[in-house]
Amino acid sequence: MSDITSELTPTQTEVRPTPRLGAFANEDWWSVWIGLALVTVAWLLFASGSSIKWLAVAPAKWTSASQLGQDLLAHLPNYLALFALFALLFGIALASLRQRLAQFLPAFLILFLGALAIFMVSAWAQASHYNLEGPLVALVVGLLISNLFRLPEWFLAGLRVEFYIKVGIVLLGATLPFTLLVWAGPVAVGQATIVSLLTFFAIFLAGKALGLDRRFAAVLGVGGAVCGVSASIAIAGAVRARREQASIAITLVILWAIVMIFVLPYASRALGLSTAVAGAWIGTSEFADAAGIAAAQAYGDSAKNAGGAILGAPDAAVQTFTLMKVVGRDIWIGIWAFVLAWVATTRWDAPADGVQAGKPKAGEIWARFPKFVIGFVLASALVTWIASYYSLADYRKVITPQVIAPITALRTWAFILCFLSIGLTTRLRALTATGWKPFLAFTAGVVINIIVGYVLSAHVFAAYWNSLGQG
């Protein structure tokens, strides 16, 4: 490779700093602002003697179509206001990111109506009898539609899976005591570190043994070890991987993430795991935030209807999942990217295509940091601070129904929008075109991840996770 820099004049070699990304420059920051704005408004309305409850609407349990129809009609203004609020908040964010509002708004209207239909199905009194948990119904319906029909291109503008899940995670923070984050953080980080390192090296070494390019093996490894698609694109950028390598890693993440949405809750039930332990296992062994929350929420929902057959509070599954996945695994993405960028530029051969990579910068750690985690922590701290002014009895009697329950309902909306979007964007046929070597390497990591994740969650740290689930 020719030394390009040696042919340049001093002016030409001057490197201008990368422009600083603002606090509105990506979906992560917008999810923080939207989530915190909703939590703040909920609090301000409560403080002024009102509540955000009228907006956080969802169908009530129903046994007949007429009952459902009456409930929907009675709350029609609430649904219209909720749609307008979501469309406004998401629309402003996406417009600022230069996405096309003219396509997003009609697509989002259809998605919102689809999510409402999912809520209606899961509110049916017999839904639990047929295992019609909202997350799984949303996913399966979405998968059926997207794989049986060709969706128009403009409709895809409304299917912002990552954006919806990040908003939901920030809102989830408002329902978790900050003290729990502080207490659970170190164990979550410890467990995640063990599993992440083992999974990465399993995939990386298997990939190398199978003859894969080191850059490709690294993208596969971190995709399986840290946070799925986000990690794959982050590491692909850090090591200057080829486009098809990023695509294959992402495809494998999606493939296994979709499989695990169904397998992990089923296996947890078969193994008799409590909601908290199952959530921790899913958080350790799922490959993407959105897919993991679908699995954890499905398990929590089935615990609600299991008549005590599944131990632990239903919400504990999503809570321990989030502690493990978001706090334990996701926050390291920038460090993985920086370290591998350094290794790639200093230890590995230069890419054959002639690209001369710039010097890795520590600033990349922050640039790629999942900012929505900050919103998650801030939301938790804010609500915990508010709750500190109330006794436990008053908190349960007043704050929970007037503030926490409506925020939980808004969070569930964000999650259902996300789950439906996952199904609607996943083309099963596209998941088969990965090649055997990458598939085998990634699957080696999947096997290790599942086994070690189970042992750590259900045995080594079981007492710890269970104690969280009783709170």
């Binding site: 020719s2 390009i4 004049t9 002016t11 030409q12 070699t13 001057e14 490197v15 990368t18 990304l21 990506n26 979906e27 992560d28 990111l97 230069r98 996405q99 895809l156 299917l159 899976v161 990552e162 954006f163 990040k166 946070c227 799925g228 698609v229 986000s230 990690a231 794959s232 694109i233 982050a234 692909a236 950028g237 991987a241 080829r242 486009r243 990023a246 695509s247 992402i250 495809t251 993440v253 999606i254 993407a288 959105a290 897919a291 890419p351 295509d353 690209v355 001369q356 990579a357 710039g358 010097k359 990349e364 640039a367 790629r368 940091f369 999942p370 996952i422 964007t425 996943t426 596209a430």
Partner: protein, 77 residues
């Protein structure tokens, strides 16, 4: 003033800085990146923080950073 200085920089220097950041082959449109990297929008996003300043090079078909360089540089008009 700084805008004027930036505009005149190529004229003064005789050429633009050959970094990927200034190259027409670096695809900066995040929507287009989502379309080109199949699956990215399913459980991820090109609009999130994780992609950082990495973008697709349309010549080499790989992800590049703004400070990267290569012999195929072609400056933006």
């Amino acid at each position: 003033m700084s805008a004027l200085r930036d505009a005149l920089r190529p004229v003064v220097a005789g050429a633009v800085s050959p970094r990927c950041a200034d190259c027409i082959h670096r695809l900066n449109d995040r929507r287009a990146i989502e379309q080109k990297v199949s699956g990215l929008a399913v459980l991820g996003s090109a609009y999130g923080a994780s992609i950082g300043s990495s973008r697709l090079c349309l010549i080499h078909e790989c992800l590049v950073s703004p400070e990267d360089r290569c012999a195929h540089f072609s400056g933006k008009a």
